[in-house]
């Protein structure tokens, strides 16, 4: 695909986005303009520095985490704990809440704010137990027809001895399979780090969104650098090579839209970030609402089965 075709492609996606009711309000011009700027950046071949900036913002210690959004977006939130088998994984929270008057099931990775909480929540890296807990919530959602919202923010699934013994790979596979079976509307948004299998495990959704400064990648920049460059210090170059930023993910057809953040990044204004995220989630759900469950599932599978570029 030539550079020009790529640009046309992205422009079409952007115009598709701006047709969303979400982008119709007063904010639209600003957001569309921002996306335009992203396009410009893409056209100008984003420098290593620019891509690295989104990596840094996605991992910013002041960035809002799942529960920060939950308290701003949902009413009557009830967190539901435990996988009914072995444990309650603090790296992945699940629960029910009201979004604008309707019940939704929410699944999200959760990082910690201070040292103790970070350790308790394993830096947002879930064990298989976390994905089992997520599947339990999906079951409830399916049974009662609640839409599923998942918020993704993890460096990756937990890489430990017990996690392996408890079946990390299988749990990630089965969590994706459970999402692909749902006959309720599902919306996923990457709100920080979308790290590899641990992220995609809860991201097989009808609509997949990324916040403006989030990243979505097959491996951490450090991990990629260690393997391909044999030097973890080459993380910047690795990130530039595999392009984990939202604009590139949109261009590659991996996500369906970009959620704007407050100027300078979500870490600067949690309230404003939550307002923007809530508006997009509501619009995304409204778009899916009238489609029969079976059709949602068929389309969802067809979408993911169409992903990839080959000759």
């Amino acid at each position: 695909v030539s550079e020009q075709e790529q640009e046309v492609n992205l422009r079409q996606r952007l115009s598709g986005l701006s047709r969303l009711p979400l982008l119709r309000g007063a904010r639209v011009d600003g957001e569309a303009e921002r996306l335009e700027r992203q396009l410009e950046r893409l056209k100008a071949e984003a420098t290593d520095e620019e891509i690295w900036r989104s990596v840094e913002l996605a991992r910013h210690p002041d960035r809002p985490y799942t529960l920060d959004y939950v308290e701003r977006i949902l009413d009557d939130w009830v967190e539901l704990h435990g996988d009914r088998s072995r444990a309650d994984d603090g790296a992945l929270v699940t629960g029910l809440g009201m979004l604008d008057g309707r019940t939704v099931a929410l699944i999200g990775h959760q990082k910690g704010r201070d040292v103790k909480e970070r350790l308790d929540r394993q830096f947002g890296m879930a064990y298989p137990e976390g994905y089992l807990k997520a599947m339990r919530l999906m079951e409830i959602a399916a049974r009662f027809g609640f839409p599923v919202i998942s918020l993704i923010d993890t460096p990756g699934a937990y890489p430990g001895v017990a996690a392996e013994q408890h079946g990390q790979g299988g749990a990630i596979a089965r969590s994706q399979a459970a999402m692909s079976r749902l006959q309720v509307p599902t919306v996923a948004c990457i709100i920080g780090e979308g790290g590899s299998g641990g992220a995609v495990a809860i991201a097989v959704a009808d609509t997949v969104l990324m916040q403006e400064n989030a990243i979505y990648s097959v491996i951490t920049p450090e991990g990629c650098a260690a393997i391909l460059w044999r030097d973890a210090g080459e993380a910047k170059r690795a990130a530039a090579a595999f392009k984990p930023d939202a604009a590139h993910c949109l261009e590659l057809g991996v996500i369906d839209g970009v959620v704007p953040e407050p100027e300078g990044g979500a870490q600067l204004d949690h309230d404003a970030a939550a307002v923007l995220l809530k508006a997009v989630l509501m619009e995304a759900l409204a778009e899916l609402e009238d489609t029969p469950g079976e059709e949602l599932r068929r389309r969802r599978r067809a979408k993911f089965r169409g992903m990839g570029v080959f000759a």
Partner: protein, 282 residues
């Protein structure tokens, strides 16, 4: 008297680092050495200690499939380079090199065959093609093999051997996880059985997607089956690793496998399962 010492440091500065890499036909367990034809006849299993050498996809297909029954499909699906990926070398160069070295177009070979007269669809991975890594082409070939199995109503026999997703395709390689998972779910919905044999190694993205979703899942003895391999677990967590960390034997003990089936028994094992899955009363 002190011996005169010669400083050899300078000469050794550019010598290759010491390596314990043996000849590929030397058994890493017991040191027995074999010729290619000996190993091929023994299904690439050490006659002395039972170590399973890596088995190439074509050798395995020749052995699983009834003679002359295998018809390869989707040979033309090749990898592309959507990111213009360049690490120490361009991705396209790595692809051509893999093709030259393996004689394969990609890290998976798919097609239809019969096994003891049972019609099956085969999807066999080959670790020697870029570490069996899964990019868009591998994901597409595997998914279309699922579709072919559904269309013809024949069970899918899948053999995995992979280091995980192909990093050179960035996020698109990660998307092959949900892609192949969705393909397997379509297969499940159609009531078509899927039997999986995990060969060494089955790790990361392939373990975390279609490999784990078979109706029956078995592994070869000693195969590494882990989402995160021992080296990374050790480096990240500094935990002490059990001796059999991530091996098939540990996975069986923890309930992640139906059985460990040594290579010489696999054909009859698959044949028995195919008979059982075909034995539905209609």
């Amino acid at each position: 008297m002190a011996e005169a010492r010669i400083d050899v440091q300078v000469e050794h500065k550019h010598a290759p680092p010491p390596t314990d890499k043996k000849h590929p036909n030397t058994c890493p367990k017991c040191g027995s050495h074999y010729r290619d034809d000996e190993l091929e006849r023994a299904l690439w299993v050490c006659g002395h200690c039972g170590h399973h050498f890596p088995m190439r996809a074509r050798s395995r297909i020749d052995w699983y499939a009834d003679e002359g029954s295998f018809v390869e499909e989707l040979q033309d699906i090749r990898s592309d380079d959507p990111l213009d990926f360049f690490d120490l070398r361009p991705y396209t160069e790595r692809l051509s090199e893999a093709e030259l070295n393996t004689g394969l177009g990609e890290a998976i070979v798919v097609g239809q065959a019969t096994l003891d007269g049972h019609a099956i669809e085969l999807a066999v991975m080959d670790f020697s093609f870029m570490g069996g890594s899964m990019g868009s082409a591998v994901g597409e070939k595997f998914s279309r093999a699922c579709d072919a199995a559904v269309e013809r109503g024949t069970p899918l026999v899948s053999v995995t051997s992979s280091g995980g997703a192909r990093m050179q395709e960035g996020i698109l390689s990660l998307m092959q996880l949900p892609k192949t998972v969705c393909a397997v779910e379509d297969l499940h919905d159609a009531g078509v059985p899927m039997l999986t044999v995990m060969a060494h190694p089955t790790t990361a993205g392939v373990l975390a997607s279609f490999a784990s979703l078979g109706d029956v899942t078995v592994a070869e003895p000693g195969a590494l089956i882990a989402f995160t391999g021992p080296r990374v677990v050790q480096q990240t967590t500094r935990e002490k690793l059990p001796d059999d960390f991530g091996l098939a034997e540990q996975n069986l003990r923890f309930g992640h496998l139906d059985a460990i089936v040594p290579r010489p028994d696999q054909r009859s094992y698959l044949s028995r399962l195919l008979r059982l899955f075909a034995g539905r009363r209609t």
